[in-house]
Symmetry: C2
Subunit: 188 residues, 2 copies
């Protein structure tokens, strides 16, 4: 088995710290709540869960399953796991590197017809608009929960970051389209 010095381990600990879960529900949770800034595949999740158990950071909750769980394994974080999680949270996060294929294409825009980049930007704007609507929807949901005394401040912050991010990208693309169009009309 691999050593796994990466981040998957800590994401899983963070999710297990919230509530005991199976590999499958962890995957679904990441897809639903983290996909705009993080992703994990089954190929990472299952081996890493095994690793967590091996390192005493999590245990499989045996017995007392009320309903007949078919084959699933419910993982629970240990005290040691909580400590490891907190230590990791305190460490400075890695400086983020982006890989934005759209921007690479735009940078080579001169080599193509202006229409090509304008179309890519249109698609990009649509995508970002969709994401902005999604972020707004989540913010409303979280705000409702808050009124019911159910606080999710930190989750809200990540959704808010998505809103800021997608809005900035959309606004940039609108300006970029404008700049390219101007130039097309008046190539002085």
């Amino acid at each position: 088995m691999k050593e796994n010095t990466g981040k998957t381990k800590y994401i899983l600990l963070g999710l297990l710290a919230h509530q005991p879960q199976t590999g499958y529900t962890i995957k679904k949770a990441i897809e639903y709540e983290y996909s705009h800034f993080w992703q994990e595949s089954f190929g990472q999740i299952y081996p890493t869960l095994k690793q967590l158990v091996k390192e005493d950071l999590a245990v499989i909750m045996e017995g007392q399953e009320s309903d007949s769980t078919r084959g699933q394994k419910l993982y629970q974080i240990t005290e040691k796991g909580k400590k490891v999680l907190i230590t990791w949270l305190e460490q400075a996060p890695e400086i983020e590197k982006l890989r934005y294929e759209l921007l690479v294409k735009v940078s080579f825009g001169e080599a193509a017809e202006p229409k090509v980049m304008l179309e890519h930007l249109d698609d990009f704007i649509k995508r970002n608009d969709k994401n902005i609507r999604e972020m707004n929807f989540f913010l409303e949901e979280l705000s409702k929960l808050r009124l019911q005394g159910d606080d999710h401040t930190y989750k809200e912050l990540t959704v808010l970051s998505g809103k800021y991010f997608y809005t900035a990208m959309r606004d940039w693309a609108l300006e970029a389209k404008h700049i390219i169009s101007e130039r097309k009309v008046d190539p002085s």
Copy 2:
């Protein structure tokens, strides 16, 4: 040798379309002008250049080196290479996936002391401010070149995207700090 179905190939073609270059100058160009949205290592660049030659997308410029080039190989894009580049530019870019460790940590913020996330956010704000200043500097430089009749519209667009992006991230972090602090003072 690897097949390399990835993007490296096209980035190199895009850079070679601008001017003939060596692997080394390509690396430096990517570090200087692309690092905020793309990166490549020597371990990718050199094998890919070989591959380009093998596929007739680039050739090594032999002879006529005026100054004694020590061991370096100057690569030049071929007509076939230009066609392949244009075809790639026309294809829709891959939908971008982010991996933002800071946001993962923030999402687990409840498990740590508020001070921990506030400090991470402070660092993040500083980093973004630095990047914003850098983008502004680049924009000024490009604007000067423009006055001299040297157009870099598409390059400017990518720098502008950086400015939008880093500004949005900084503004979000400022609001996030505010929200966490409010909550700390008044934990009703």
